[in-house]
Symmetry: D2
Subunit: 295 residues, 4 copies
């Protein structure tokens, strides 16, 4: 399902993005910008960051415009390869007209799903929302009313392998680029995570690393914290330990009971997850040593 207009896609038809990580060395920017200039591409936006001038790492995100880009994709990547080799780059080009395909996983708490659906309906989430998978039936109606395919796959500790097999098949079938765990209360196996490196975004309902694991609001209540938070991160095999993409908090006071903490928390979770997903879709995130650079 797509909500963005053909006009928008048309406006993106010559827009490309280039993301690079590599060891820092003199001449990288000169080499890249000379290449793009000679290829006929005009740099529209550019952000660069180095961890340390000497012996450090170099990261850049460049947005460019290039006439007839769609027809030159292969040519662009082929001609860039020698520069990438010269500087030992990890790199990727993405193209404004190639919209990423997304799957949302959800359980019974629907506020994050609703926020994503809403942003997507408003045209603010630039993705092809291909399917929703849930271990409950609660959201079928709302999902199907938007003509998005919904798959009910009951899940438990016992049938994890079988469940993931079905899920992986669907993800492959729909050609999914990004998986969003919008309060999906099941743990994924290392096998599942491994095939989607930095392509699964989770929302954890606390300010990590405070309250790692289950029932964070209950524990926040018990500890008497004065701020409630949420964290969106890429999923790795270490529970709640993946690279943090975005965090936010809200102020609470002694009057808030657990139910109210949860209610306030839902509002933070919604916006924190939506921001992280947006940044991923706009290719703003580079992962480096379990941390994120967000341009």
């Amino acid at each position: 399902m797509e909500t963005y207009s053909q006009t928008f896609l048309e406006s993106q038809k010559n827009m490309g993005r280039l993301l690079i990580s590599c060891p820092d060395k003199p001449g990288i920017v000169a080499a890249i910008s000379k290449f793009l200039y000679q290829f006929g591409a005009n740099i529209v936006e550019s952000n660069q960051y180095s961890t340390n001038p000497e012996g450090g790492s170099f990261f850049v995100r460049i947005v460019f415009e290039c006439p007839d880009l769609k027809m030159k994709e292969t040519e662009l990547e082929e001609q860039f390869q020698p520069i990438a080799d010269q500087f030992s780059m990890q790199w990727r080009f993405t193209f404004g007209y190639e919209v990423k395909k997304t799957a949302i996983f959800v359980s019974k708490e629907l506020h994050c799903l609703r926020e994503l659906l809403w942003e997507w309906q408003s045209g603010d989430l630039l993705t092809d929302l291909a399917l929703v998978i849930s271990n409950h039936e609660d959201c079928r109606e709302i999902v199907e009313s938007l003509n998005i395919p919904f798959y009910y796959i009951p899940a438990s500790k016992e049938n994890r392998v079988e469940v993931e097999k079905k899920q992986l098949q669907l993800l492959k079938e729909y050609n999914i680029d990004l998986i969003i765990l919008a309060r999906y209360m099941q743990i994924l196996t290392p096998e599942f995570v491994e095939v989607h490196p930095n392509r699964i975004i989770n929302i954890h309902h606390s300010f990590l690393p405070a309250f790692v694991g289950a029932r964070p609001y209950e524990r926040a209540y018990k500890r008497g914290v004065k701020l409630i938070g949420a964290t969106s991160h890429y999923v790795t095999n270490d529970l709640d330990e993946g690279p943090i993409i975005e965090q936010d908090i809200m102020r609470v006071d002694h009057r808030a009971n657990i139910e109210e903490l949860k209610k306030i928390g839902r509002s933070i979770e919604r916006s924190v997850l939506a921001r992280a997903v947006n940044w991923h879709l706009e290719d703003r995130i580079i992962v480096h040593e379990n941390k994120t650079i967000v341009f």
Copy 2:
């Protein structure tokens, strides 16, 4: 040393505060307000909170004005005793004209001390700043330039008992009500803590319970968090586990190295500690089951 004017103290001469915790029961507010009314005291401000209507706890903070209060202190407390007994209250009256005496403990990092001195000089911290104790000489000049007694007591793991003996003697001599650990990097013994229940305020340089213990900024950097925080809390025998009074955070991004995290953190620590101290001095805080109610 006092910075507030005699005019201010004069304006407070009839102002009192009443803080109460007790099991919740019908008739408490009626009993208290009838008592105050009959005593000739007018309620100026009042905040109340109950954990749960049935079988819960009741907390109230009342600010009142009463002609000739200074002369009636004993009478007030004596006459209130029967009501306190009737409802099994923990209670205390404090008086606007009785300024609390404060001691600041500090090590080598002076930003929190500076903030407190500054607020105190501006008349915004209503306390008699009686002395500063440090295990380093760094702040002697700034403290003594304000005519505040400064005591240098070198401290280490080895001489802890002896050091605390000297400190306790000074606290007694100066008749101290509140101890502020303004980045005092020594751990206090249970014996020291025990004699000052809910009267020692510490600033921890992280958003607790994240990064309990040493070197929180280094660990925050390593974890790649997107928010940096600070927490002020009453000191108990469990390291960094005492009742939280106030917390705050600031946003950081991938560009911030450890030094910059520390710099940003200093700014949060300053304001979080100053707010907590102010609330304590204004008798706004009630501690209940390792949590704070801040009215």
Copy 3:
């Protein structure tokens, strides 16, 4: 339409609220709390504020629990009248089981409507959402899908009187307590406003008093502000000058164009309006001299 459960209403059946404004005088709290105690009502929560001890104004919000409250409503109000007279009070009792009836007015921008519908569906907005009125057809489908009556009344400067006549008739018919202008882009006449004093809540898409009037985002962009805000307020006859209930802001930078300011702004508008509406429904707001006290 109601979304809260009968169980919830049942839990509220003995809960009442009392809101009072009056000239400050000794004995008010004693009189009220004695009255409630003798009536058999237990004070659950209480907040009080005085503008100035001498010659000022006194405000209080009390939440209480009273067995068989529903049957004693008239009795309660009758017996309280003498106290109200004695202290020249403006006062009202409200009852937890009497859910307020709400009408939403909306034009073409639907994000605030969606947020309210969502909170209402989740059971977080305790109101009987009686009808939605719009001068456009855009939201008919979403409103009617929730079984809420939708009325399309095309509006313009020319037919204002006629339009308002229809609207007033509907509001009367549905017995409406609260009108929410959820981005309703029409100006109301003094006659309309007059019959709903402090019962119309508007959301203005700027941090008032900055950018009063039309096209605030365009003007914010032009001025180069670094923060974007929204303001919810009660509607009076002075455009954007009514008592402010709630405000909030978000940080923006030079990269945000007008479209992006609007997108960020929508997110603030949603939450600011929802908070204001919630506080109104919970009887937390007292209006005094074009300002609000929010307990």
Copy 4:
């Protein structure tokens, strides 16, 4: 007076910054980066922004490292001139080892001055704090105790021209790069402003454009706003209308009287001004059409 160590200056001896505004055209980045590479300079950090791909403006800030930079300054600028001409650039190189000279103007409210002095003492404000000018004697002691020259120049509407003559002479004598109005409550003449384009930073004690002009806290109190703000901006001839550099706000409620609004406001003013000054000193700000781009 300088507080940074010689070690720090030493570490900066090869660091340079390049700031450019120009009409957007293909090839700018390629030309700049090729030039720097061939000059032997390595780009450490780079931020770029274009208002609009077609016919818009291009802005870039580049931080670079170049061996023996101090000896090559003139050469660098001479060799860059042809590129600057080719693209019609407004440009400037600045050098890490050339510390900017700053003058602070202040009246009777000293909190902003204190914050700046403090950051400067801590080594967090990288500037040569050359002198403080005031129309009152209040801060003489604190300024002179830090061995900073203090000049008392009484000022009023009547003697404005004469006063500014003295001030301009001092600014010239001390070779001042940046003037900070740290709550200097006098209006500057167009003649004074003209000779320091985008080199005078003021702190206004409100969230501009709300409460332009005098007594903003009084007016904020009267309007009943729920957030209090401060704005730092470059001074132009239009009162409070210059390019905004930074803004921030804090939440207030009905209990805050004017004095408390001012107290809360002081805390925001301090940090907002300090951030703006820091960004200016780090050459992070480009002014474009009465707005700022802050890299």
